[in-house]
Structures are given as C-alpha cells and as structure tokens.
Symmetry: C2
Subunit: 102 residues, 2 copies
C-alpha cells in the first residue's frame, strides 16, 4: 500500500515546483512562447521567471532562442521532447497518487 505512496518522494523535483509546473504546462500547449507572454501568464517576476527558465533549460526540458523583435530582445521558449516526456510522466505520477488515495 504505502510503497506506492513512497514513490512520491522520488518525484521530479524540477517539475514539482509550482512555478515551473505552470511554465511547462503552458509550453506543453503552445508550441512556443516568449518571455513577456510567459511572465503575464504565470504572474512571476522577471527575475524569478528568468531563473526558472534557466533551470528548465539546464535540465534539457526547454529550449531557449534569443533573437529580436524589431529592436527589442525576444526570448522564445519551447518544450523539448525530453521535457514533454518528463511532463507526461509527472502528470501520470500525480494521477496515480490521486487515484491511490481516494
């Protein structure tokens, strides 16, 4: 019984942080999103969004493309295949937990 619960302690910590969960959930739905869009949607500060994005990038969960829109910098983010798989696995684990504890 509880051994399945215990598997929660090995959950993907990168995705288990709500700020990053939201970022990844958005990216899972939109093909690509820019920094400003992500900031509006998540409600995060620029600074925190920036560091969360860097962590996701370091993990290989997202790709970041830096370019320009007109004269302003534009930071485009998209989920990698690895990120998508991790997100799917994460959701599966959550669902199993919820089902198990009914």
């Amino acid at each position: 019984m509880t051994n399945d619960l215990r598997s929660l302690t090995e959950i993907d910590r990168l995705l288990h942080e709500p700020a990053r969960t939201v970022i990844v959930a958005i990216l899972a739905a939109v093909e690509s999103a820019d920094f400003v869009f992500l900031q509006r949607e998540t409600g995060l500060t620029k600074g925190n969004l920036s560091t969360h994005l860097t962590k996701l990038e370091d993990a290989g969960y997202i790709e970041i493309q830096k370019t320009f829109r007109g004269k302003y910098p534009l930071t485009l983010c998209r989920l990698t295949e690895q990120g998508r798989k991790a997100f799917t696995a994460y959701r599966k684990q959550l669902l199993e937990f919820v089902e198990r504890t009914k």
Copy 2:
C-alpha cells in the same frame, strides 16, 4: 485557460512537499500511526520525520500525542479534521491540474 494553471502557484505548500504528502496520505488511511511506523513506511530519517511532523502539527493538520508503550516513549499521530479537509482539497487541485493538461 492558463488562469486555472496559475492557481497551482497557490497550492498548499505544506502538503506539496512529497515527504509530508506521504505522511498525510498514510495518516488519512489509518486512524492513527506511531513514529516508528511512520518512519518505516516513509523511509525518512528520524530527524526529518520529526521536523515534518512538527510542521504539520503547527499547521493544525495533525495531532501528536506523547505517551509510553511500556517503558519507551510512544508518539502517536492522527490527522485532524482540518488536515483531512486540506488533504482532500490538495488532491482535488492535483486532479484538476492533471485533467486540464490532458
């Protein structure tokens, strides 16, 4: 769409920590459990179990009764009504997230 995702950032942080999620999930199933039992089931060290239990107690999510079994101290934990409600709400929020991101 994303406004629902954003609600994740207000998730109950106390329950969102996997170690505590497991503790509470166990307590939700067993009426009451002692320290040694919880340690075996969760795999936590005594020290960490102790501090997590204290946090849950401070939040009013569990009650801790200190007594003796024979000559040895016995720490009994049980979920409070408040804890049970919080746990139910937490699971509901997880489920909604999983459903929304399908």
